[in-house]
Each structure stands twice: as C-alpha cells, then as structure tokens.
Subunit: 372 residues, 4 copies
C-alpha cells in the first residue's frame, strides 16, 4: 500500500475510478461467440454478471420477472414504493413530473409512508410465481424487523444493502444488528454491503455472506463527496475487496465470496473494467433505468436522495434508450455504451483474448495519464 | 517532506486542496445520534466546530447573537461596515445592488470611511448583552490602535486575522507589532492567523495564541493566485500546521493550540475533510453567507476585495438557501452540501465509525487520481 | 516497466496520449529546407510519412490516385462502399445528410450490402492504371475470402487491418486465419494491425509483415472506452511497439519492420509526436477527411461505427478546410494544425535540429504536468 | 533530472507551467513599501523587471518612450509594421477590424511588405531622442542584413529574438549566422533567445549575451503544440535556464547572464512565479496589449501569427483595461491580476518576506495537485 504525503504527518493512497483506467488488449484474440459470460453464485447460475439494482427507478416486480426471464438477477428494493403503497402508480407519476427545485421535497414526502409487511410478502410471491429467481433488499436499519416476512415469502437471494454496512456497528441505545448471527440463522444466501476497503470487505466475508457489495450506495447523481466528504473511487475499492476475497479464501479453507461492484457502473465499458479490477459481477442502476419498461420512465434516483433531513442525491433525467432486451443484448443503434451491454462485454473479452469472467479478472490495465 | 524536481535545481512539494482528497469509510459504523461534535477552546465550549467568519457578508451583530444561541461561535469583523457606519444599511444596499463591473470601485469607496472606536465598543457590548460569547477580529495593521477599545468592551475571544500573519514581521519605518508581547499582555484568549506552513504555524503558536488560523485570508472568490502567484492548497496546509501543533505540544510541555481551517470550507463535506486533515475547527464564510439573515443577502465578499489599490477578490452572488438554523441543523431539501452542516458532519463521523472530532482527525483519506 | 498500485494486488502502468507529451527544442536548429521527410518501406519510397487511412470518408479511388501523385500512400478500404456498390454516390449522400440521431442506423443499413469481388479488382486496377502505388485493406474476417482477388488485381501493398489483430487468434468453430502462413505465401508486402503492446507487436512482426499498425482501429470519434472499457493512449503504445521493433531487429538478424501510428493523429503536431515516440510513419484519417475532395465532404466515420449490433463510433462533422494539396503542403491560412502538415513536420524537425525522420525518433520529450 | 517511462525505452521528464505551481508564504512578512523591485542589466537600471515585448500589438515608438519614462524597458520589433510602413495607421486598422476567419490572411498580406532600413534608423532615433533607453529586436534571419542600421542609429540594448535561437544553427546553402562572433563584434549589450533547456541556455550564454530569453516565442494565443507538437511549460524551462546561469557563472569566472522569462506571463501573479523559478526579469506581451495606448487597441498577435505558409498563432481580442501607468502601478479596480503589476509583485514579496528580486528567486513553491 503505497502512501503519499499530503502534509505534516498525514498520508494517503491515490485512489482510482473506472474513468481513470482502461483495459489493454494483449497478443491473443478470440471470437465473441466463443466467450462465456456465465455467472454462478451459490446454487444459482445466470447468463450474465449484471444485477439490476434495488432502486425504485430500476426494478419493479414486473421488471424483476422480465429480467429473470432474460437470464439475469434483478433485486427488488423492499423499502421502496412497492412495499409502501398497494399501487404506487400515482406516486411514481408525482416524482417523474416534479420540478427539479422541488423534487427532493416530493421524494421526502412520498417515502414518509410506512413499509407494510404484507406488501413485502406479496411482491416477493409475485416474482416467485413467475418462475424466476427472487432477490430483494433491505437496509440494516429495517432488516431485523422485516426479515421474517421476507423469508416466509420464499425469497431465493437476500440482500442487506446500505450506504456503508459494517460487520461491527457500534450503537449505544438500541440493540445493534449482529450480522454474523443474523446471516448464520437465515436459510438463504445473503449478499451484503456496501463496503470499500480490504479490511471492511474481509469482515463482511466472515459474516458468512455469499456476496459482498463494493461501493457506497447511491445512484448516478449522488453527492456524497460534497455532503459528507466521503468519496469512493471504484477501481481501487473493487481491487481492494477482491484482495480480501483471496485473503478470506485462504483463511476459510476455500470459501469463495463473490465481489459485486455496486456503483459507477453506468456504461457497458464499466462492466469489463469492474471485472478487470476483480469483481465477479456488477450491480447496474442508471444503465437499466433507461429501458422502456423502467418504472422511473428514464428518471433515476437512489435511496440516498430520499433521506428526510440529509438527502445526498438527486433525481436525474437519463431518458429512455431502448427495451430491456436491447439494453442487454442489442442490437445497438447508439455508440455510447448504453445498448448491448452483454454483447459489449463479450466483444471486450474476445478482443483481449479471455474466454470467461474469472480469466478476465487477470487482464492488464493502464492508468490514463489524463482522462480523454 | 517529499520534493519533486520542477526544473534545474528548483524543487517543490505537491500540495493538495480539499477537492483532491476524500475520507474513506472503515470497517466500523456508528449511529449519528451517538457521535459528538462538541468543540472546546480555552474556557468555552461550543456544540459544533464551525466558526462564522469575520466578514461583512456573513456576520452582523444580530447574526453573531443568533449564531451564539444556536451553540456556535461567530466572529465580528471590527474593520467592516459595522464599525465604520452607525447604521450601515444604506452601504449594504449599495454593495448588494452594484453591477459586477463597478462593484470593486463601490467597495473601495464605502470602505474608505474611517473606523470609529466608539462603534467597536458598542457592537461588542451589543453581542455580550445578549448573553452569548463575543468574538471579534482586527487585522495586524490596526490591532495596536484599537485593541484597547476591544478589551474594554469585554470581548471574550480576540482574533487577529490578516492575509498572512507572521510572528516575525520585518518593517523599516514604523514600529512593528510584537505579537508575542501583545498576546501575552492581553487578558483574553487570542486566535491568530492566517498561516500556511508548519514553521509559520509553530512560530504563531509560540506567541501564546489559543488558536491558529490556517489559510490565506479571502472569501470564496479570491484571486490571490492570479494576482500574487500565491496559492494555498488547504488540505496540505492544515495537515502541516496540525503537525506544528504536535511539535509545539511537546516543546511547550503540553499546551494544545487549536488549528482552525480558514478558507475553502464551503460545503458540508469540506468540514469533515478539514478535520480529517487535523483541524480542530473550521471557519466558514460562503456557506453561512447564504442564510436568510446574512447581511449580504446571498452576496459575499472578503476583506481582500476592498483593497484600495490591489483588490484580490470579487463580490460573488451565492444566493440564499435557508435559515441559519436550517443551514446548521437541517432539515435539508437540497443535496449539494449547503444545508444541515452539523447533521452532515455527524453522518460522516457515524458512517466512518468515529465518535468525536479528535478521533476523526485520524481517519484514513485517499487522494483522488482525477477530480470527478 | 514501472507499475503503480491501483488497489489490492492490482497494478497498472501510467499510459500517455499524444496530448500528454510534447517535443523539446534542443541546442541546435536547422532550416526547414534542409530536412528530409522521405519515408521508405519495402521497395517503395514516399515524400512524406503520412498514409491516408482506409476509411470511406477519407479515401476513394480518385483520392488514392491524387494522393499518390502528391507523393504519399493512400489505402483504400476494400470493405467499404466502393466494393459494395458499383456507384456509391447515392449512399454517400444518404450518410452525409442523415440526422445525428438516425445516422448509425443509416450506416448499418447501407453497409449491410455484400462485398463484390469483381468490384475489389476493378477499384485496385483503377488506381494502378493511374501509375501510382496501390494499397488496400481488408479485415482479418474477410481476408481469406477476398485476398485472391486483391492479389490478382495487382495490389502493391496489402493491409490487414482490424480493431485488434493478433498473431494468435483462438477460435473454436471455424478455421482461424494463420497470419504467418498467409503473409508468407503472399507475394506483396503486408502491413498488419492494430496492436498496442510490445508483445503483441513483436508477434505481428514475426509473421513476416513489412509494417505493423499501432492503435485500436477507429476514427476521430470512436467510443471504445465507453463501450468496451478499452483505451489505448497512443504515445505509450507507439513507444512500446517501437521497442518491439528493436527487439525483433536483433532477433531476426536485421529485419526492420515499420511501426505506423494508426489513431489519434489528427493535427500536424501529432505527426511529429508520433515519430518522436518511435513511429516510422502515421496513418491519418480525420485530418484528410477535411479536404475539398474527401468523399465524406467533411463528415467522417470509421468502420467501427457501422457495426451491426455493437457500433463503437459516430459520424462526426469536421468541415472542409482546403484542398488535399493545401492540407499536405500549405500554404496555411489557419493556425490549428489542419493545413500544411508536411511543412509543419519540416518546421518541427528544423526547429529541434533533426534532419531526417529516423533522427527525430531520438528527440527528447516532456510530459505535461497538466494539459494546457 | 528525474525521467519517467512513457513506453518502451522512451522516457521523459514531467514539465510544469506557471499554472501548475504557486508561491508559499513563509514565517516572515514585510511591508510592501520596504521591498525593492529594481532590475539592473549591464549599465542600465530599471524600476521594475517587466520588459514590454517586441510585438506590434504591444510596443510602438510612442509606447516605448512612455514605458521608458515610467521606469521600464520596452523593446520595439524591427520586423513589424513600423519598419515596413512609413505610417502604419491604416494597416493597424485593417488588422483590428478584420473578421476572425480572414484575419490570418490579412496579416500575411500586410506583413509581406519589405522592411525598410531607413525606417529602422528613424524609429530608433525617435525613441533615443526622447531620452529613454532604446531597445529593439530582430530575428536571426534578418539580423545580419539589418544590424548595421540598428547600431548606427545608436541602439542601447539589442535583442535577437526568434521562435528558437540556437548557438549552433546548421544550414546547408546559406552562410549561417555565427552568433558568438556577431555578438562579440557588437558594441552594445545583446539579449538573445528563446531557448528552453539548460544546455541550449548555456550555449547562448557562451555567445557573450547579456541576457537570455526563455521561451518559444509567440503571443498569448500561440498554437505551437497543435501545429508542431512542441510545447514549453515555462516554470520548468525558466528553472532549467536559471541552472545554466549558475553553471556559466562558475565556468566564466563570474559573468552573470540575465534570464528573462518570455512567454506565458500574462497576469501579475505570473511575474512573481517566473522570478521564483529563477528569472531575473520577464517579458510581457498580452498584459501590456491591454493598455489604452497599446497599438493593437486590445487586440493582440505575435510574429508567429503572420507566417506566410505556416501560421502558428491567432489574433486574440483581449480588450482594454486601463492606462499603461495603471497597468503597472494601479490603482486596480479589477481583481484578475490585470492592473497594478508592480504593486502586486511588491505585495507578493512583502507577504512572503523577501526584500529584493534576487532573494525572491529562493522562495519555496508548491506544485498544485490539480489546477484550481
């Protein structure tokens, strides 16, 4: 860990975002038809390593079903509109049509409604009954209260997702969530995060999680750096947590915990970069918020934007670019990395000569001296 | 101190601004309710470590009283309009409504009026009589002349603030201010600065000051780099002077001099960054110039903008974002780090697992490879 | 090879683009009249080291003839409109007049037309019959199928050009092109690429190629970084492949393979930078797409923009700046490096004191701390 | 000289511009009244170290006289309009009113007129007769032909100024200028340049020159990097040539050759930065082109913009900011470093504690991690 002097005795590492790095083609090439993008976690196998993020602007029960049928894994946010409202159509409409200067207040008001346990069950069952793998997320604050409903509804993959989730939450007044005990007692695989350092990742892996999210929560327009002073350059964060995976693999005698890049994965090129840094899969928000069936209709917001007294994000208008299928498999009629995400990943692998995702993690990368 | 070759035998350090760095969450988290932002200097304790800067666009006697009642420390500029005019309402109006191309001349003209010792006393007494801690600032050039009036009025905390204040001012013709002697003889705690290097900071600490300001004077739109060629990247400067605090703590056998970041602290995220670099508190100008009761009504200027023959700053139109209380404690309906400053600091501490400001000084930081 | 830690155990080199570097004048100067820009490859000699790129917006058979008469080498794309359509006038018109939002689809549709072997022969013969050296390009995918027609038509210099061409293409289902065998059996000199690393370049040199293209395909507006995550900073790539040339020169007992910078050479200043990095010649696209006789009439696109399901480039409107002769030899009435490319190269050599291209490869360069 | 790997075996230094660096205040301060900006070269002493550049948009005979009376040294361009036209008023008007798209052609046409030796004499005598020190410049190409007229007219300081002037110009067909012999035989002090490296500077010092210009010619909008691929970050270049001064001081047994920063000195802050890098004085173009009496009336162009077949600069519209006196001595009503250049230099010296220019060369500087 090379640290640089900032001033006095304070030192820091240089940290890199996906924009700061790029993949380097090597001396070997392949055909895109000959590469595999298969991703397998626990007992489940998916055609591609792109999860749909638990955000109201990305995943509705309907989207989750379609996404599953296309071979991927979508995660429903159990603290979103679908568990607060029987039929959230009117609420979506209000958010989508709100003016920029008042949209934060609109969000704060709409999300003030309480979460209803019976809706949690209903939504999960709806997805399950369509025959696809059901995944859904709660934050650490609500997970104890609602997890029973989630399990009873027959969830396949459970996600605990917060801005930062630590294995060691220190609280004075209330009983803190004991992640290790909680995950051990659950009968389904759990994916947990975000975290951004090797040590934090290692601690989360020791809880028994099947996968760890790398990132700091948030949608495409999060303003964490302005508001909190915290910023997580993703290339460095993913590589750090991937190193924790290796450390834990040895420590545990062979348990492989998946590393999932959750943040700053917006363009197809970011997917191959995340995997090059050591990720097993990525979580995609903004890229999928642009489908014709996305609940936000091209508008996009994260849970950090709805915070009641300290919002740290905005509603951004991304626009609609194509169907979910076209976003994933093309054909692309754009050239901005917005369509044919899976095709682009295959092309990147083929061009650089790698035949599966695990191999691609070893690719050589360069650091751009100056961005573009 | 790692120096890099610039050319020939000239070398220099790389220096970092707050924008170049970011805090890194660790493996532990806390609840925002469980962290303390208390700041204590000399005999005085404050609820949060954010001082209101002695600038006419930020602090009036009325603002100073309100700010004190909210638990903070505001500093009145004793060389501003309030000590030059019995009722400066008309002057504020002229500045606020001046056109950009002529505003510098308007400032130069208005500030040409002489400072009145009786108004110095009156303003301080007004603040004192409201029951809050009274703090006010003079520059090194006028401090000898006016300090008697300040002390007599019963000031609690005295500030000597200039672009650069050195413990070793060399002058040919006039008697130079002997800072050490002057501070020793005063009966109130003195905060002095700005300074920007470890050595300069150490020399100021040796004068007996209770606190040292780190920075190079100036408001949000100072143009010191263009005009003088001088620029002070604040992250490096704060860390350097914090190192002087450690050095002086040892040398003095335990006297702890507070390090206050005075400059480039505009967004809530800058507060946690400053403390991460080693600051005990920050001085905030532009962030507080945006309150509904700010005397500049959203316009903002520093003392360097009024210089009669070499102005080095501008009047900037920041706009009004909320009440003073809302800026400090929320609730926020914005996502740009402009509201709920104290809440944001608490959230940053909680998310990264630190329970008080002294602990937060130890947090790990990263250097951004490229500013987003 | 100095690598830097990105995170965990992942490391990468810093890679530089032409914009990141600049030539440094030395203590000697010359007159522009006294320097030579002659470039000789195989049995052919050219007045200047600037090839015209095999792109439909740059080279038509007519342009190839004119360019040859001006002393340069133009390469015709044998997978472009001229071999798909007997008379592509209408197709060019459609592309040129298409709206930005639909132009990708227009390209995809027009380029869906099959390549006609008889047109391949016809176009090459047309160029040959004008008495200039004929050069033309195919991609690796079509080269086996069409090379016979190319050779029979009497091509002088043959180019195999793809996004990435490797000496070691691994394919499952179809017989892969054996570059080494293929080039050995051809009776004309072959230029092959792109490649971007020393090792990949070395492998291409071992195939018996007369020249190697450095780059990643693509026109002025390629979006490979966004779509695939792959980006090739050209200064580093050219220097790396130039190092392969030295390595191969030794290994082969004296065979000198030309290194041709193919990408990011748009302004005249980029030519001298490419040669400073070790290139023997450059391939120019956008710079020549701006001539009065360019087939795209100032609009410019690369083969990566026409891909049927994963386009990675756009049609950019560069505008027309002058005749082909004026672009090459001036006089210039602009100051942006768009006119008098050869004169600018001569001036750069004279000012820095070098008399031929081989010498210029040794010039000292600096890395710009920040791009102006 | 720390070099960094760019690729293969190619290496380069990182080079810094004035924007990349900044001065650091130290622990001592002074009063602006107590510092001296006196600059002495050969037998001549000036009140401030700012030369007015030999450019038609900056110095006319009338400006040269006024500038001299204000205590500075202005240099007349003897290849400009004043020696080509008896009364160039109409030509100035044409350039000033030309449209951006045709101005290069207008310049090329107007400057095609021949230089008249009798006008050279007349202009110098005009300046001399006003009682100020007369300085004028020729380029290396014309210096042999016209120097006799210059000397006969009684010039005080002679300047040989070109894009790059080397002590070792290699020419085939014509007799090359032998700088050493030429300068030795002249009876007046000679300032010669530009040069940009320690070695080139050292060679120029050995010619017997009294001063050496550091830079690459050109006005505020030169496009050398785009056109030629050559770029000279000034902070590094000045520091390198300053190192040559030390080397030559030793080698010559005590001859001190002045180093003059000629390029990128536009704002007052650039003056103190240039001196901090080791310059003895600066040459200012754009900053002085903005006076009410500047011949270009706020428009500005350099000799590289008029080149007949390879122009490398533009006419830029800087606007008028004040009288020549106000630009030099204030009072300033702006805050952008455009007015009160000498006052700003004094303030920079006072704030950082240095009392004369030679001392200021030793000041500590920082490298900005990111520009502003």
């Amino acid at each position: 860990m090379t640290e640089i002097e900032i001033g006095g005795s304070k030192r820091g590492r240089i940290a890199y975002s996906f924009d700061d790095i790029a993949l380097v083609p090597t001396r070997r090439t392949r055909n895109p038809e000959d590469v595999s993008t298969t991703w397998k976690i626990d007992a489940y196998e998916f055609n591609f390593p792109i999860m749909a993020a638990p955000m109201d602007s990305v995943v509705s029960p309907e989207v989750a079903i379609n996404y599953g049928k296309l071979g991927g894994l979508a995660v429903l946010d159990l603290e979103g509109l679908w568990t607060r409202y029987e039929d959230p159509k009117a609420e979506f409409k209000k958010i989508i049509s709100a003016k920029p200067e008042s949209v934060t207040e609109v969000l704060q008001q709409i999300y003030a409604q309480a979460i209803k346990p019976e809706l949690i069950k209903e939504r999960i069952k709806e997805i399950k009954s369509a025959g696809v793998i059901a995944a859904a997320a709660l934050s650490p604050r609500t997970v104890v209260q609602h997890s029973k409903a989630v399990i009873e509804a027959g969830i396949d993959i459970f996600m605990i997702r917060g801005t930062t989730v630590s294995a060691e939450h220190v609280a004075k007044e209330e009983e803190s969530l004991n992640l290790k005990k909680f995950i051990y007692e659950l009968e389904v695989p759990v994916i947990v995060g975000g975290c951004v350092s090797q040590q934090a990742g290692l601690h989360l892996m020791r809880t028994g999680a099947a996968g760890v999210l790398v990132g700091f929560g948030g949608g495409a327009a999060h303003t964490t750096s302005d508001v909190l002073g915290i910023r997580v350059p993703m290339a460095t964060a993913v590589a750090d947590v991937a190193a924790a995976r290796t450390e834990y693999l040895d420590e545990s005698g062979g348990r492989y915990v998946h590393v999932i890049a959750d943040g700053s994965v917006g363009k197809s090129g970011d997917i191959s970069k995340a995997i090059a840094m050591g990720a097993d899969a990525v979580m995609m928000g903004s890229g999928l918020a642009r489908s014709t069936t996305a609940p936000g209709n091209g508008k996009h917001w994260g849970s950090e934007a709805i915070h009641k007294d300290l919002p740290r994000g905005q509603v951004v208008d991304l626009g609609v670019v194509g169907t979910l299928e076209q976003i994933l498999f093309g054909p692309s009629t754009s050239s901005q990395g917005a369509l044919n995400m899976v095709g682009a990943l295959k092309k990147a692998m083929a061009t650089t000569g790698y035949s599966d995702l695990k191999e691609l993690q070893r690719i050589e990368v360069v650091i751009n001296a100056a961005k573009a």
